[in-house]
Symmetry: C2
Subunit: 470 residues, 2 copies
């Protein structure tokens, strides 16, 4: 039988031990046994460990992991920091494949914690077992329906965006946030203080994972700069890697040191590393996940020529400003497209780029031309309508409104090679309506600015990769 | 009887004419008569004008405004561009006080349109009547329940944030967006191409309007630089003025020229104007309205010393990074506060700034000290909890959870002088819960970064004003 990758066993363990399992009550990790049973873990393959308990949630409890019958692929450790070294020793004796240390109280609290953490990593490496943590909540596998922490798996749309987060809480918050943001998640790893498994290991694993299409990272610092550059470059050749990094300033660095014991170097150096390795940086979480959704859903633009189609001159100008600031071009459409639009457009309508449709009823025509015009590589659509006006129209004569305002699904299918992002603004029901009309091939960005930034990021990535693969 | 300010009559007209009123159907301005009746305009004071109709929505229709019986405070003009000059002539003859020209097709479409628009402005000035527009949707008065365009007044929370937008559609989108963003709106003006009333007039009006606490502007260009600087400076001494300006780049400038016929100058010059006049610039709409809500709800910080209280090291680091980038300080709390926290904190907890509470149950204590500590001027709270864990706890023992996690309302009242922003992240129900616990005195920002930026903007504004008023 061939050895399975221990990181793979983290995401789909055949048997699990929870070390430090508690009688169910309020508090960190307390609901975990019940949660694992609820998501379908076989009770015969779920083993609880706690010297003070005999039975929890109907399962027998063993004094140490050594008494657990059979092999243990994954041990989840939620004991106090002082007890962790002994527990790791037991895991090594038991030949556990991978250990998720969720306990906090290591490098993030001072020198002694850092020493204990280092020792833990050394022991694991010598024994040939892997550790994820300490100070994290482990992993979530959305399509595979497994998690080492309590999350609402049913609420999250499974997809190809995989996430590596240094912070456990970040992972939890993301899982809570993802459904309302329609972020289609694959595999999440919270790597905490990185006694062993670090961001470079995760890049290598997710780079080869066929289910992962985009990798998103939240980092507070890089453990080994050289390894990171190499892993990031290797991975970027396979799929996009997007990063938000804290510790951009001295105060942020101090915060990350006390949070996950990370030493983050000068921000400009990290910036340079990212550029070299084809890694895209984001400035806040909205931007980070807008970019992730764009990369996941869209083909990369073939060039930097973008067209903005909008019903709002103001939103169009905002998108245009940000596009130019991000190094994109806003060319004129072909003479044929312009002539076709002019022949139908009212006098006041601006046939340019942005293409400001206004209330002309020509949004669908504009979109048809935008998606096929040979001067254009990518399209940002910012459909706008006052809800009070459009709502009765939508209710009363959906067909006419559809013809005037929306792109035919057939057109979107035909123009499948063209990158298309939307930035619907206004009433929540209007935003929902627009998303439904455009469907999943045109991800919705939080702002026209974010749409512009996402397009530019896709171009940067394509250009970086082209140079290195041709 | 003293003359009322014509801009005031825009917001609360005693009598209205709709010139170009249409039989109700889909399309721009078509539902306006019905809408005005529905929001409570007295049918005896609502007059419809259209030479082709005799009756609409049960109201008589006059061939021109001149046949309307009695005085007309406000004429709303929705006729084609070519008919506008004749209509303006009629309004002058009728001695209408203020005219809202909603029609498009003027400076934004070329030289002839610009000429017609200029002529319209000249005639109005000579005759002593005021015009708002063309190419806009006029005004909305949320607390006063009046609007010249169809918006859902019942959905919008009345408040002290007044908005001046060059774009009509921007105004409409904002009205649709405001309820879901909990933006408490006062008066909105869309000024379009500014044949007469411009951003400087509106600044002077809103600066003196006692119901307006914060002024938010969407500009595509400034009509008269000198007047704007003076009006902005005057107004900033009274209340904060926040601006998002399109046309930051050449492409954006081109877009604004064809949108509202605005010539926007070099962006760096506008930046300098804003700094001189105490005007705060925002980078996107989320930031713009986050800042507006912060200015409306909070006292200005007395200094730049900020403390971040969080349950998430990652969110804390993000806030810290942006605070420092915006010129804020993150001092240590007093020795007393630190000692009180240390005496109750678990080993792993980081008693610093950010104050990362983690799952210690000390959030309420941290907040109590943050709101009273003498080293601190302003607080950003980023309360975090995994929803799957906190939800049953909230349901089962609200009191204990409240004690551990939330700030007592009495404390918030006592510390009324301290600026407090929150940036709740995660599950939508968690975000709602946090907002409810904190109440309206702690506005919720979209991201920790936006909270940091809003605090810094409040400091910039306070410092600007202090120098000029002491």
């Amino acid at each position: 039988m061939s050895e399975r990758d221990p990181i793979d066993l983290l995401y789909q363990p055949r048997s699990i031990a929870i070390i430090g399992a508690k009688k169910r009550a309020f508090g960190f990790g307390a609901g975990l046994p019940r949660f694992l049973l609820d998501i379908g873990v076989d009770p015969d393959r779920l083993h609880l460990v706690n010297p003070k308990e005999k039975e929890i949630d109907g399962l027998p409890v063993y004094p140490t992991v050594k008494e657990v019958p059979g092999d243990v692929d994954l041990a989840i450790v939620i004991v106090p920091a002082l007890a962790v070294p002994r527990v790791i020793g037991n895991c090594i004796e038991k030949r556990v494949k991978v250990v998720n240390v969720q306990s906090a109280g290591f490098a993030e609290v001072g020198a002694e914690g850092a020493k204990a953490q280092e020792e833990m990593g050394r022991l694991a490496r010598e024994a040939g077992i892997r550790i994820i943590g300490p100070n994290c909540v482990g992993v979530v596998n959305v399509p595979g329906r497994f998690a080492t922490c309590e999350v609402d798996l049913d609420a999250i749309r499974p997809g190809g965006i995989s996430v590596v987060a240094q912070s456990g809480v970040f992972g939890n918050v993301l899982m809570d946030w993802a459904p309302s943001q329609d972020i289609a998640l694959g595999k999440l790893a919270t790597i905490g203080n990185r006694a062993d498994i670090d961001e470079s290991d995760m890049l290598d694993y997710l780079g080869k994972d066929p289910a992962t299409r985009v990798i998103v990272m939240y980092l507070e610092g890089v453990k080994d700069g050289r390894r990171f550059i190499e892993a990031a470059r290797r991975t970027s050749l396979e799929k996009p890697v997007l990063v938000y990094k804290s510790g951009e300033t001295e105060a942020g660095k101090k915060a990350t040191l006390s949070h996950t014991g990370s030493l983050s170097g000068p921000d400009a150096i990290f910036d340079g590393v990212c550029r070299q390795a084809g890694v895209i940086r984001a400035r806040d979480l909205l931007e980070l996940f807008d970019m992730a959704r764009a990369f996941e859903a869209c083909p990369l633009p073939k060039g930097r020529r973008a067209l903005v189609v909008t019903g709002s001159g103001s939103q169009g100008a905002m998108a245009a400003d940000r596009l130019v600031q991000c190094g994109m071009e806003l060319p004129e459409m072909t003479a044929e497209s312009v002539a076709e639009l002019r022949s139908q457009a009212p006098d006041w309508m601006n046939v340019g780029n942005p293409l400001d449709i206004g209330p002309s009823g020509l949004f669908a025509l504009g979109m048809k031309l935008a998606m096929t015009d040979s001067h254009i590589d990518a399209v940002i659509a910012v459909p706008i309508a006052p809800w009070k006006v459009i709502k009765p129209a939508l209710e009363m004569r959906t067909e006419e409104v559809s013809r005037q305002m929306y792109v035919a699904p057939a057109l979107l299918d035909e123009a499948a090679e063209r990158t298309l992002l939307i930035a619907p603004m206004g009433h929540p029901d209007w935003v929902k309506t627009v998303k439904r009309f455009f469907g999943p091939r045109a991800p919705a960005m939080a702002t026209p600015q974010n749409a512009a930034r996402a397009l530019a990021a896709m171009c940067e990535y394509r250009e970086w990769r082209e140079v290195r693969t041709t």
